[in-house]
């Protein structure tokens, strides 16, 4: 048990670091754009002081750009805050779709770097499960990372959420999958410790070019 705890802690710390790095990088990019808009405003102001007319349409444009970037950064910060609070409780009721959304948002930069877009399909009624939220986020990220790494030639990866006869299912698939890379899916000690802690099973889905994470019982 102590060994499993160590593995979970190691995996968790690594995951926390990667999400924080990805999110803060995204925020840095928004700050860089805000900074350039501010600089442009200063340039226009200096030109106006020298006698040029102030282009009001450009000022409006700058203001709109800044507002857009503030909203973009705020979205990332909201998800980062929610993510930070996911370690607050040992067990809680988690909405699977919202949890996938938090991970996708925080990891957007890491996913974009691979040139992959992710499409999520979820049923209209929410799928709720009782679990440890932080480890749930961790396993979702590991699943995304695994499917993206095994789909180097793919442009799109699909995540589908299903709820049938008391079972919650999270499917990961892509249109171009390297089956060799899939052979050892979730084979590391850290991944196995996560699967065991969350009491979920993994099943290869050959028909859909991917794999499914299955929870025995949803709420």
């Amino acid at each position: 048990m102590a060994n499993n705890d160590n593995l979970l802690a190691k995996s968790g710390l690594n995951f926390f670091g990667r999400m924080s790095a990805s999110a803060t990088h995204e925020i840095k990019n928004t700050l860089a754009i805000i900074n350039e808009n501010s600089g442009l405003m200063e340039d226009l102001s200096m030109m106006a002081q020298k006698g040029a007319s102030l282009p009001f349409d450009r000022i409006t444009d700058i203001s709109q750009r800044v507002t857009k970037q503030v909203q973009r950064a705020n979205l990332v910060l909201n998800k980062l805050n929610r993510f930070s609070h996911s370690v607050d409780r040992e067990t809680e009721t988690a909405n699977l779709e919202k949890t996938v959304d938090v991970v996708l948002n925080l990891a957007s930069r890491l996913i974009e770097m691979q040139g992959i877009t992710i499409k999520v399909r979820a049923p209209s009624s929410p799928i709720l499960i009782n679990t440890n939220l932080f480890y749930l986020e961790n396993i979702i990220w590991r699943a995304i990372e695994t499917i993206c790494n095994a789909s180097q030639k793919a442009k799109q990866v699909n995540i589908s959420l299903k709820n049938s006869s008391g079972t919650a299912l999270l499917g990961f698939s892509s249109d171009s999958l390297d089956s060799n890379l899939m052979d050892n899916v979730f084979g590391s000690k850290e991944d196995l410790a996560l699967l065991e802690h969350l009491k979920l099973s993994i099943k290869k889905n050959i028909e859909n070019n991917g794999f499914d994470l299955i929870w025995p019982k949803s709420i």
Partner: protein, 142 residues
């Protein structure tokens, strides 16, 4: 003479405003939104410096740096980055990056670095020309 700069970043808005501000400061700016596009532009045009985001979708920053250096060894490369670890910085410098600047960048600092890069490139080109002349003279017993 104005500095010829290739600005590479995947953030469209950043590229637009930064190039406008650099142009207003007398630089001749060409933009590319990926390392692959930058490489294709570099095959056709010459620049004094390239200012490039180190982390972009598609080609990895280090891979892009090596490809650029391979294509244009004398080109000065200033890397823009959100966060860079010391390890990555050292590695990039070894591969041939001239300088690093953290985002959000101060345009005046960047302008200064571009001017320094242009001087460095001119010195490199002069040195290469001098070496070639010496080699020709030696070959002809001069």
């Amino acid at each position: 003479m104005s500095e010829k700069v290739l600005l590479v970043d995947d953030e469209k808005e950043f590229l637009e405003i930064m190039s406008e501000r650099m142009t207003a400061r007398g630089m001749e700016v060409t933009t590319a939104n990926s390392a692959t596009k930058a490489l294709s532009i570099l095959e056709k045009k010459t620049f004094d410096a390239i200012v490039m985001d180190f982390q972009m979708p598609g080609m990895d920053g280090m891979e892009a740096l090596k490809a650029i250096k391979n294509l244009k060894p004398e080109l000065q490369i200033i890397l823009l980055t959100g966060y860079a670890t010391t390890e990555k910085t050292v590695e990039a410098m070894k591969v041939g990056a001239t300088d690093f600047l953290e985002k959000p960048a101060d345009l005046e600092s960047l302008t200064q670095k571009i001017k320094e890069a242009k001087t460095e490139k001119m010195l490199l080109v002069e040195k290469r020309t001098e070496d070639k002349i010496k080699e020709i003279l030696q070959r002809h017993g001069g």
